[in-house]
Symmetry: C2
Subunit: 150 residues, 2 copies
DNA sequence: TGTTTTTCGTTGTATTTGCAACAAAAATGC
DNA sequence: GCATTTTTGTTGCAAATACAACGAAAAACA
């Protein structure tokens, strides 16, 4: 059995760790960059969807986003037609930070792909997307309380 | 720019989340399974190396391993020739759990690889290993306080 | 040899993370 | 229309996570 997931876990933890250290200079604490980037790229998104995108617990996303709001990186806006939801938008302060976050991510991508040909990188991306789609089905099931049989 | 790392992040968080939920029935709390599996597969390893393998902070590993010891899943043993290190070994209780942890991991691997041919799976594993090796260089640098320039 | 640096482990503290449980609005079903 | 289920958001609490800082052993070096 090839341990695909161990490799993925190592890569994910290493890069998350690096990002957290690097973004401290912008006063972003652990994990916040993930949420801010998603909100900048999807203005008007609600936090439930951010949690789904990131595959984190709803309550974790709720608190991370609340903190971004308190710090003035994003705002929550009511919706005219739906009293339940709160749409999320970056503020000027948040938008200004975005290019730095993007650049860091791009750099990490580049480092990660060092030594891979263009075709290999394309292949990897395709394979990872397929794996991700497989995995998110189980994630949603298990998160809703269903049990996997194996 | 293909967002390889976002896919990897999603996959890693989703599967970690699933494992944490599934291992609760063995009284393992968040993350503990990672350490126990590594110690079972590398008896005599020291915690510094476990942290390196997993790409987690040394102090995080220290506390997770201490808890495994208190719960009786592993033991720490002194080394005859080196007073500083403590070698880690699974106990009977820990060894008994291992097959269940392994089976869960294998199942997740299988789910993840659904729809991929044997060749694609092999290709993915190879590419991921290369990415991981690229990334761990930066991780070790940044963890030691060095700054990445980009 | 003696000095300096690196490795390894620990604890204090602040913060994130996530499960449980709740509430209210919206969507669905009949 | 009305009852039921799903969606969305929140808070209480327990626990993991990681930075800083320390100490001691080992390794490197001069």
């Amino acid at each position: 059995m090839r341990e695909i997931l161990r490799e993925i876990g190592m890569i994910a933890r290493a890069l998350d760790s690096i990002s957290n250290i690097e973004f401290k200079e912008f006063n972003l604490t652990k994990g916040q960059y993930l949420y801010l980037i998603r909100i900048c790229e999807n203005p008007g998104i609600i936090q439930e969807k951010v949690a789904e995108m990131l595959k984190v617990d709803r309550t974790t996303a709720a608190r991370a986003i609340k903190k971004l709001e308190i710090q003035g990186f994003i705002v929550k806006k009511e919706d005219d037609h739906n009293k339940k939801i709160k749409k999320l938008y970056p503020t000027e302060k948040g938008r200004k930070l975005y290019p730095f976050l993007k650049r860091e991510g791009d750099h990490s991508n580049q480092i990660a792909l060092t030594g891979l040909s263009e075709e290999e990188a394309a292949m990897l991306f395709d394979l990872l997307q397929r794996v991700r789609k497989n995995v998110e089905i189980d994630w949603e099931l298990v998160k809703k309380g269903n049990k996997r049989e194996y």
